[in-house]
Every structure is written in C-alpha cells, then in structure tokens.
C-alpha cells in the first residue's frame, strides 16, 4: 500500500518531465507539440497556456482519443503544479501515446516566469448547459460554440426552407440571424412553414419568426427586414456584415440577385430549392467554387419553372432540405468538414434517393468568371422574363 506522496514519487520516476522554460520553447506551432491542460474548468477559465486543449484529469481517458487520435503527436501535459499532469502523462503512455511530457511546476510556475497566458472567453453556466451536446463534440467544443455565438447569418425568406433553417440555427446558438421577407403569414403556409403558427395568421413573417426563434433561444438576436430583397435595398441589408447567407427565396429574380451580391461581397451562400417531392441543395462559395450562374446561366421561361404556389410541395420536403442548409451553414461557420461547394445534392422524396452531381466554376461566367461582364445590379425581374438566347 503506497501513500499519495510515495505514489507521486513513483509515477514521476516513470514519466518524462520538462521545466516551464523548456515547455515555453515548445510553444511555437512549428514544433508540432500540443499542450494538454488537465486542470478543472474554473482553473482553465482563469487563464491557460496559448493553444492548449482542455480535458479535465477526470475525463482524460474517455476523451483523449476523440480529441487527439494521432498517438505519435508530441503532447505537453500540464496542471497547476505538476502532480495531476504527472499521473495524466503516465496514463497517456499506457494508452499508447508515444511522446508525452509533464510540465514540472505547472501553470503556477509558467505564470511566475511571466510567460504568455490566454484568458478564455467563457460560456455562462446556462449556456454550458444549453449547448452541452455541442461542447461534447470535438469539432465544436467551447471554441466552436463561441464562433457560433459570434456568427451572423442572413436568411433570405422565412418560408418553407427558412423555417427549419432558422430554427436549427437559432437552437445551435448562432448569435445573430437576419431575416428578409416581405410577406405575412397565410393559412396555406402552415402545412410546412413551421416557424409560424395558427395564432400568427396575418402577422409579418419576419416578426412571427422572431418571436419563435427568441422563445427558442434568448441568446439569439433576430434582425427583421420586412421587405423583398431588391437591387435597391440589397447593399443596405448586406452592409450589416454577414458570414453566411441561407437562400430560401421563392423566385428566380431574387436567386440571381442573391448570387451576384454574394459574389461581389464574397459571402458564401447555402442554396436550397424545392418543388413537389424534389429538393436541390448546394453551397456557392465565392472565390473557391462555382456560383449560381455557373450552374444555371439563364433562368428557364416561366412556363417551365412553376413555383410551389403553382405546383405544390410536400410539407416535409423543406424540412429536409432546409435542415441540410442549416447543417452546411454551421459547418461554414465552424470551418469544419467538407462543404457542398462544387457538389449539388438532389433529393427525391418519392423514391427516397439522394444523388450528387459535380458543379464546376465556369471561367466564362459573366459574374464570377475570369473576365466578368456583369459588375453591377441589374433589373432581375426583367432578366428572368426576358426571351432567352439573345445575349
């Protein structure tokens, strides 16, 4: 039977320790070392070594492989004084991590030496609880959640696609949601536009959506634009600065307007469209991939492009497509995973099939091509009704 003191001495024999001065030398990212802070959350919140990841000693074994799958990555483990990190280093070695050192003297000694410290922005206890399932995901975590809270997403349309997209973005804690829509809630909307409800009939959609979203999550600020997006107001609306646009418009003129504005402002657009049982969804990322005009250089004649009001739509379809849009928007904000840029997903609810086609940037595109011929807003209504093949 060993006492704590004996056990600690024994563990320190079995691991490698470095001084805080040596640790500081490994701070440069080119060194390839990852600092792992195993202290308690309240200690982390008061400051930590820059670039460190935080896993409490109690959760080290269960979390480390999810966070650091590469067992050859050099790890510099620290706590406040070097004892907890010694035990942590031993267990990491037992788990197969090849290159682990513990910082003798720990964070207390680091601070005494006047080395750089990062004070993390912290979530409130309510936020920690609300977003706990995000905080558990390595790809989101506390940093990712802060990114979401700082993010600004503009939704064009508070209808079928905008309903689920805005609700999931609000639930996820996207801090600012702008919503552009001129319409009021109509009875025929409620079969699919779940952000609204029967007691909102006749109410402007942007205000109805705002009530629903803020009831869902008071962290979210909703900026309503009760107007149709046009060439005249697009610059004013975009002047607020948006990280991502979620396009759920219901007409071609708005689609082309959103595209041109997003190319010129370099804002990624998560595009969705629906008709009857079929949906299309993709990401247009200016400077990186194709734009809407690369995919659809010209709108179809009106008789070939019936709207949902004319042709109908299965109520749940915008739920599926709008949710994929929300997922893409969150990934863009978090800068995680592979976006749908350059890929168009085609969903058919009737056959329950999902097809994917490749969309390439067109070097001759009049807006995002190498020698653009369209450089300012046009009359998009006229463009979409104009006879084709004349340009």
């Amino acid at each position: 039977m060993a006492t704590y003191r004996e056990l600690l001495a024994q563990v320190k024999e079995e691991i490698e320790e470095i001084s805080t001065i040596e640790a500081q030398g490994r701070l440069d990212p080119s060194e390839g070392s990852l600092f792992v802070d195993v202290r308690e959350p309240d200690e982390w919140e008061e400051g930590h070594i820059p670039g460190a990841v935080h896993i409490t000693r109690g959760r080290l074994e269960s979390r480390i492989e999810g966070l650091i799958p590469d067992k050859n990555r050099p790890l510099v483990v620290y706590c406040s004084a070097g004892s907890r990190s010694a035990f942590a280093a031993k267990v990491l070695g037992e788990m197969g991590y090849e290159d682990v050192v513990s910082v003798a003297g720990g964070f207390a000694d680091w601070k005494r030496n006047g080395f750089e410290v990062t004070i993390p922005r912290v979530l409130s206890s309510e936020q920690r609880s609300r977003y706990s399932r995000h905080l558990l995901i390595p790809e989101v975590g506390e940093d990712g959640q802060q990114r979401l809270l700082d993010a600004r997403v503009l939704l064009v349309g508070a209808g079928g696609l905008g309903s689920p997209a805005s609700m999931y973005l609000a639930a996820a804690g996207v801090g600012t949601l702008g919503i552009v829509d001129a319409d009021v809630v109509d009875e025929s909307n409620l079969q699919r536009q779940i952000v609204h409800s029967t007691d909102r009939l006749g109410e402007p959609k942007v205000l109805s959506a705002k009530r629903t979203l803020q009831a869902l999550n008071p962290d979210v600020r909703v900026v309503p634009f009760q107007e149709r997006l046009t060439s005249d107001n697009v610059e004013r609306i975009l002047a607020d600065g948006w990280d991502v646009i979620v396009d759920g418009a219901d007409n071609f003129p708005t689609r082309y307007l959103v595209n041109d504005a997003s190319v010129w402002h370099r804002i990624p657009v998560v595009h969705g469209s629906i008709f009857r049982f079929e949906g299309q969804v993709t990401v247009f990322s200016p400077g990186e991939g194709p734009c809407y005009r690369c995919l659809f250089p010209q709108p179809p004649p009106p008789e070939l492009a019936p709207s949902c009001a004319e042709g109908g739509v299965l109520g749940v379809l915008p739920g599926i497509i709008g949710s994929i849009q929300a997922s893409e928007a969150l990934k863009l904000i978090l800068d995680r995973g592979d976006s749908l840029a350059g890929r168009l997903l085609l969903f058919d609810a009737l056959g329950t099939t999902l097809d994917e086609v490749t969309v390439r940037r067109n070097p001759d595109c009049p807006v995002c091509g190498d020698s653009p011929t369209i450089t300012d807003y046009a009359d998009y209504v006229e463009f979409c009704n104009a006879p084709l093949g004349l340009d």
Partner: protein
C-alpha cells in the same frame, strides 16, 4: 441503354414517368430517342438543335457542358439526369 431521370417539371410531357430508358451512343442520341417518343419534350430541352441554356444534363455526375456537350458519349448503364433550375423555397 441509359436511364434518364425526368424532373417533375417535365413529367407531364412523358406521361408522368420519373425515369425512362433511352438508347444512344451520345447524349444527343439519347435525347433524340426521347424526343422521338415524346415530341413535347423537344421544345423544352432543345433550341435550334442545341441544348437549351436553361437545361442542365449530367452524365455520370458531370455536367455535359464541361465535357463534350451533346457529343458526350453514353455508356450502357449510365444514368442521365435532366436538371432544371427550381426557384421554389417556400
């Protein structure tokens, strides 16, 4: 023999089918085969013998405009997707 996906906006012209089998060595041949059997499709897909600018055709997941257009070869078992732009979002 290729399988051609018919978008909802063109199904009225083909008796409601979601997918049709069609023959041809190239995309142009496959479309000609379809138009021969469903003449109403012609005006929706072609302009002056060329693919209408508002119609996209994908073979093996690639837009034929980025390969050889209507001359793009079609192999047995290929899937062609006729893709119109859809504006609807609400």
């Amino acid at each position: 023999m290729a399988a051609v996906r018919i978008p909802p906006t063109l199904r009225a012209e083909v008796g409601g089918s979601r997918e049709l089998e069609a023959h041809g060595e190239t995309v142009g041949d496959v479309i000609d085969d379809l138009v021969e059997r469903y003449p109403a499709l012609g005006g929706q897909l072609l302009q002056d013998g060329e693919l209408a600018p508002f119609v996209n055709v994908f073979v093996r997941g690639e837009d034929i405009r980025t390969s050889d257009g209507l001359d793009t070869p079609v192999r047995g078992g290929d899937q062609l997707i006729l893709l119109p732009a859809m504006a609807g979002g609400v």
